[in-house]
């Protein structure tokens, strides 16, 4: 089974679609197993919850929703007061799937419990967030972002200053940043072994960074 999201287009509302992928391609149908509508605006991210019982979605209306994967019923919603205030652009699970991080244009990223949708942590940055990831190895999260080129009226003459910021997951404190991109960062992901990470940005570059030995001994 796969989960897909579609954008609002013409008269169609944005929706979440669950489709079954047949191992025999000749039997593949294009019908939805389940269609979920409700969120306003684009749904930017959707993923499966533990045991594939739930689907978690997040998007332009800054609300995270947990849906029942079989009936499509809305089970939980994030609190608009404490949750994100602007469009959510990024969502990624932890390695063990117990919690996930979301990033938003409100310049913050938040950590959530995947079952209860309780907000665990908040990390604030100075730029709208486009990508976030949780380290599978240490208690770190990485957040990347930057202002869209179309919105910038004053160009920064500082090249290579868009950085991927590392935060301590529990203390919510910034522990460092990795510079290199000269455009906003749009994608971040850790290597499953936790010893390197990759970032992709609007500048058209994909960068792969391997951590040096000091990284594993960072003391906050």
């Amino acid at each position: 089974m796969v989960v897909i999201t579609t954008d609002p287009f013409m008269e169609q509302q944005s929706a979440i679609h669950v489709k079954r992928i047949e191992s025999d391609r000749s039997l593949q149908s294009s019908e939805d197993v389940l269609t979920i509508t409700g969120p306003q605006g684009r749904i930017n991210r959707a993923m499966w919850g533990p045991l594939n019982k739930t689907i978690i979605s997040a998007g332009e209306d800054a609300t995270i929703r947990i849906w029942d994967a079989e009936t499509g019923k809305l089970l939980k919603e994030s609190d608009p007061e404490t949750g994100h205030q602007k469009v959510i652009t990024a969502m990624a699970k932890s390695a063990d799937g117990s919690h996930f991080i979301t990033g938003s244009h409100d310049k913050s990223a938040k950590l959530w419990d995947i079952r209860t949708l309780q907000m665990l942590k908040t990390y604030t940055t100075e730029r709208p967030v486009n990508a976030a990831a949780i380290s599978p190895l240490l208690d770190h999260v990485v957040i990347g972002g930057g202002q869209e080129a179309s919105q910038v009226t004053m160009t920064s003459t500082r090249a290579g200053k868009f950085e991927a910021k590392f935060f301590h997951k529990i203390f919510e404190e910034e522990i460092g940043g990795v510079k290199g991109h000269f455009g906003p960062i749009n994608a971040l992901v850790f290597n499953p072994d936790g010893r390197s990470f990759s970032s992709g940005g609007e500048d058209g570059y994909v960068r792969v960074h391997f951590f040096d030995s000091d990284y594993y001994h960072i003391k906050v």
Binding site: N52, R115, Q147, V152, M154, S156, F171
Partner: protein, 723 residues
Amino acid sequence: MADVEEAPHSMVPPGTAVEEEQPRIQLNIDWGNVDLDSIVLPPGDDMGIKSDDEEEEEETLETDTGFGNVIIVDNLPVVASEKYEKLEGVIRKIFGQIGVITPNGLLMPRDESGKTKGYAFIEYSTPQEAQTAREQTNGYKLDRSHVFVVNMFDDYDKYMKVPDEWNSPEIKPYTPGENLVAWLTDDRGRDQFVIRFGSETEVYWNNASQGKPDPVYHRTFWTESFVQWSPLGTYLATIHRQGAAVWGGEKSFNRLMRYIHPQVKLIDFSPGEKFMVTYSSHEPSSHRDTQRVTLMVFDVRSGKVLREFKGSADDFATGGTGGIAGVSWPVFQWAGGRDDKYFARIGKNAISVYETDTMGLLDKKSLKVENVVDFCWSPTDPLLSLFVPEGGGGNQPARVSLVSIPSREELRQKNLFSVSDCKMYWQSNGEYLAVKVDRYTKTKKSTYTGFELFRVKERDIPIEVLELENKNDKIIAFAWEPKGHRFAIIHGDSPRPDISFYSMKGRVTKLTTLKGRQANALYWSPLGRFIILAGLKAYNGQLEFYNVDDLETMATAEHFMATDVDWDPTGRFCSTSVTSVHQMENGFNIWSFQGKLLYRLPRDRFFQFLWRPRPPTLLTPEDEAEIAKNLRKYSKKYEADDLARSLEGTERDTENRRKLVDEWKSWVAQWKAAQEEEKEERYILRDGVPSDTEEDYEAEEVEVEEIINIEEEVVAFGFDNQD
């Protein structure tokens, strides 16, 4: 019988037969028939934002009677009914010019014989028009024997309500006020600052050693536009629809006083904090007139209005080369020192100096100076410097004069020739006055600049002339060293101008010139000796921290897109901020005076950063010398203090950390428990393969051979072609 029917007043519901009731006010209106409740007052425009003043009674323009836009004109001629219409026409013409009279808004009552009673009621469309009409027509001479006496309808109402018996006012028990200067006794000697961002206002202690500020007070919608400290730092003033308010106190900020001035836009304190001047401007009643401005002078402590100035914007605009649209603030400049004795403003061909004792013109007349365009008080003494441009078609030279108040004696004067413009700069101790003079070259095609330097505190006030080495250099900035004898000039035409430092000791001498700096603004430390050469706006926030004693750069730094630079009142720290002129990167940085970045606070929609001013020191120069001598002893004590505090800080931090880690661990434990329970289910989902941990995955190398294509091709063995 009711004369009202012939000219029915809009107050009365149409069609009502109205009878006169003698003992009532001579208004010919039966109050019983008038439904006051049906009169709808204009709704408030507070946009749903809760204002502090809603808790108490507001003094608003609308009055209880709802007749705020009605005036009563007395002393009209008593005419017979034949002349009634003519008189009515005259009245309508006179009063209709000032504002819009509502339909049926002109009522001139007549007695039984048809003669007019000698007074009339006029209703305008707005209360402002009525006020203006009253001001303008009160005292108007219709003819020799009829001078209009005009009053607001509401005034009558008010006076009628005065009780016949006089009750002596209650004596309120004395409650001692709070210690308003308590912030100065901070044992760590920190300074406060206030920031405005979004709708928030926050006051912090500058905790430089801890690397983050300590909050003092925070309030949303505290002010409707900006905040302003009083010059000695005692009060913080806020602006509201109904006027201004000041706040202060020992631990927190309580409202100390309100100043009623509807729609106030700007405020200014006197240097000794005794008085406050507020300014508002209003749309004129007819669009031919200029803006009307109102200035009020309040006593800060009691909130009483001491004097009101009303007029058109023209009266208060600084006359000058090339008329200015609007008024430059502050309109009234206060004399130097903290006595708050005199304040002055420029007018047409005169400088009006007022004294605060009487709130009237000093000696009841202004200082007449033909063509004066600019003036400045000395910061420390009651001494004015003024500038008169060239006059008489070039026959009269321009001149700069120093005039002493109250004697009006001209202490010094200098004539200047070929002057195109002039600007005056006083040094903070009133010791020196620099006059930047732009002169035309012989061809009148361009200007060059020179400085006239007055040594004000020396006998006979000698003047020295200074010209730059390159006379044609444009002057970008000029600044005196506060409390010192030096000044700095940014000059040059290229994108990287030069900065020169001069000293007034002995004869004016140049100390050094720094070439090719990215700077367009000078910020001296308030105690002198150090200066920040800042490149704002186009230079995007370049900062150079320069030591003028040793003539060397201490540090260069950058605060990208910085728009403002502010020193704290002690000269130890300075802040650079990015205000909401820019969309991104709003917030401020705090630096040490040597140029080390201590901390920064990003805040979106950032408007203001203001250090809280300090009153001047109470130490005598001898005290200060003694402290400087024993500095080592004092600094040891403070260092120990700082160390103790930082240890305490880290202890608290580690406590916090431990708590967070424990919380997290317990949450993880919860999760793990849940995971265990679900292990069974996961097993099934994954087709019976235990795969919860990475190690369970087996990487299997499988070779897959896929036959893509089999083709047979006969290749001929060309034995014949072999060589």
